[in-house]
């Protein structure tokens, strides 16, 4: 197992944000975390990424307790993208993508030729060649999301943890992003993404983890977890699931 979480609990005062959550994830999986707002998806992703310490429970990443990793050593192995990532200075897209190499850089000194090649490749893969020198603050939402994703994979991490990567994207860019994440999983990386679009989750991911009120409601391959019963329990809405695989879609009827 690449990533193993056991009995994770997070409390804010009397309220449990995560309540005894356990999860195992291996290389090559593309896991969708789904659930209503406030179900604990983002908190779980932060914990899996090692950015937040749980109140109890343990996480093991590549056979080592996550808490034992040094910051930059962990950063080389896993990339994390929060919800709506923003760029605060008008740096160029190329610079933004290059920031993904921060954990491998010395305190002083610039990029090696190998780094430059990696940056160029990530820009190419992200379909950003035309925006290379554009200021990141002037990108459209879809372009910025692509640039941030390129920033996440430029260092070639083994695990990619992304929080709502397709929120706010138009259909074409949402499909693009899902296809790209899927291809990472196909390359043998672990991809974990919080997703609200159940149709795209059903089409592209290999496994669905459904959360409700800080607990995992169901966890398994798409075909067995993406059911009308699960959607009713997790989201409190009635849904209809039509078809499966590439052509399948999830339709909400009412509550």
């Amino acid at each position: 197992m690449m990533l193993l979480a056991e009995n994770i609990c997070v409390r804010r005062g009397a309220r449990a944000i995560l309540d005894a959550v356990s999860l195992e994830a291996g290389a090559g999986e593309f896991i969708a975390i789904v659930g209503a707002n406030g179900a604990g998806k983002s908190t779980l992703l932060s914990i899996l990424a090692g950015l937040l310490q749980p109140d109890s429970g343990r996480i093991v990443f590549k056979d080592r307790p996550l808490s034992q990793f040094e910051g930059s050593a962990l950063a080389r192995l896993r990339a994390y993208l929060p919800q709506n990532p923003r760029c605060e200075w008008p740096i160029s897209v190329e610079r933004l993508v290059a920031l993904g190499l921060t954990p491998t850089l010395p305190t002083f000194g610039g990029f090696s030729a190998a780094d430059d090649a990696r940056i160029a490749r990530a820009i190419e893969t992200g379909d950003l060649a035309d925006h290379r020198h554009q200021e990141a603050t002037s990108l459209s939402g879809g372009e910025l999301a692509r640039a941030m994703l390129a920033r996440a994979y430029v260092g070639d991490p083994e695990a990619l943890i992304v929080d709502e990567p397709i929120a706010g994207l138009d259909p074409r860019h949402a499909l693009d992003a899902m296809r790209r994440l899927k291809s990472f999983a196909n390359e043998g990386k672990l991809v974990i993404a919080a997703l609200h679009d159940l149709t795209l989750a059903a089409r592209y991911t290999t496994r669905v983890v459904a959360m409700r009120a800080g607990r995992i409601e169901s966890d398994g391959p798409v075909a067995s977890t993406m059911t009308t019963g699960m959607i009713r329990r997790v989201f409190d809405v009635e849904a209809r699931i039509v078809g499966s695989g590439e052509g399948g879609y999830v339709d909400f009827i009412g509550n």
Binding site: W89, I91, L99
Partner: protein, 329 residues
């Protein structure tokens, strides 16, 4: 990538030129030939003494203090991702001023020449410790608010000192000190602040990588392996030492630390790391230019350095507002 390698060499060349000019200009205008001639003569003469004992330390102080202000301004703007951040943000300048004012108020400054700077340094360190303790468990915003609170407290206590000043002369002395000046500073002042400025500025330079990563916000910076706690200690302690020491010998000097990083930013593609060294060079250049201006403008008493930087700096603020209004939606 933006080609920005030329900026620092050009600024340093200009700075060297300005240093040469600064040595010649003042109440007594010196002829460069006389100085060269004196350098080779065995007995020291007036022109030589003016240069080595008066103008050289003053010029070096201007460079040290200006570089400190430019660098710390660039670091604080990068750290807070706020273009309005300046070296006084964490309460360091106000703390240094308060320390020096206390020394003047109780007449300690007249007993021993360096009481004011030493008390100023103590005030800067105390103020930054208070800021750090207040903003310890919050984010960057908590630190900024803590700095504002500490600055406010120090300013209030300075007002108390002015209010209760035992005689008009003491009040005048405090006010003059607060305006900021480089006149009548000696080599001793240079040696006094040099170690603090070197250590503080080195700490500030070590923030470069963290500042770059912070372009993506605190969460992403942390996910990229940046230790935000360590970064915060470097920023606060580096500013306390370098800006604290600088302010304690010159008084609070505004705008240089705000303006220098702003002027550099567009030249280096807004890349936080690349702003640091050029901003330090430009800070030195601007402060030396302002100090030369105080020597050239002869209307009544000497115009204070802090007054010049504020007078020239405020229009820049207006320009900043107009530009922000144009670029932000």
């Amino acid at each position: 990538m933006t080609r920005s390698g030329w900026i620092t060499p050009v600024l340093l060349a200009l700075l060297a030129l300005l240093i040469a000019i600064s040595l010649l200009i003042g109440r007594v205008w010196l002829d460069p030939r006389a100085i060269v001639h004196e350098a080779f003569s065995p007995a020291p003469q007036v022109a030589g003494l003016i240069v080595t004992e008066l103008r050289l330390p003053r010029t070096l102080l201007a460079c040290l203090v200006g570089a400190t202000l430019g660098l710390s301004g660039a670091v604080l703007q990068g750290f807070t991702r706020n273009p309005l951040a300046e070296p006084g943000l964490l309460g360091v300048s106000a703390g240094a001023s308060l320390g020096a004012v206390i020394a003047i108020y109780f007449g300690m400054a007249s007993l021993f020449e360096f009481t004011a700077p030493i008390m100023g340094l103590a005030g800067a360190l105390g103020a930054s410790a208070l800021t750090f303790a207040l903003g310890r468990n919050g984010g960057t915003l908590a630190l900024i608010l803590a700095g504002a609170a500490v600055s406010g407290l120090a300013a209030a206590l300075i007002s108390v000192a002015l209010n209760l000043a035992p005689n008009p002369y003491a009040a005048y002395e405090i006010m003059t000190w607060l305006l900021g000046s480089l006149s009548d500073r000696s080599w001793n002042h240079v040696w006094l602040i040099l170690p603090f400025v070197i250590v503080g500025c080195t700490m500030l330079l070590y923030t470069a990588k963290g500042l770059d990563a912070l372009s993506l916000g605190e969460v992403q910076a942390q996910s990229l392996g940046i230790d935000l706690k360590r970064l915060r200690v470097l920023v606060v302690l580096g500013t306390a030492l370098s800006v604290g020491a600088s302010t304690s010998v010159t008084g609070a000097i505004g705008f240089v630390g705000l303006v220098a990083p702003h002027l550099i930013r567009p030249l280096v593609g807004a890349h936080p790391r690349k702003i640091l060294v050029p901003a330090a060079a430009l800070g030195a250049l601007l402060l030396l230019l302002a100090d030369i201006a105080t020597r050239l403008i002869r209307i009544g008493p000497e115009i204070k350095l802090g007054v010049i930087t504020s007078l020239v700096g405020t229009p820049f603020f207006f320009w900043l507002v107009v530009r922000l209004r144009r670029t932000s939606p």
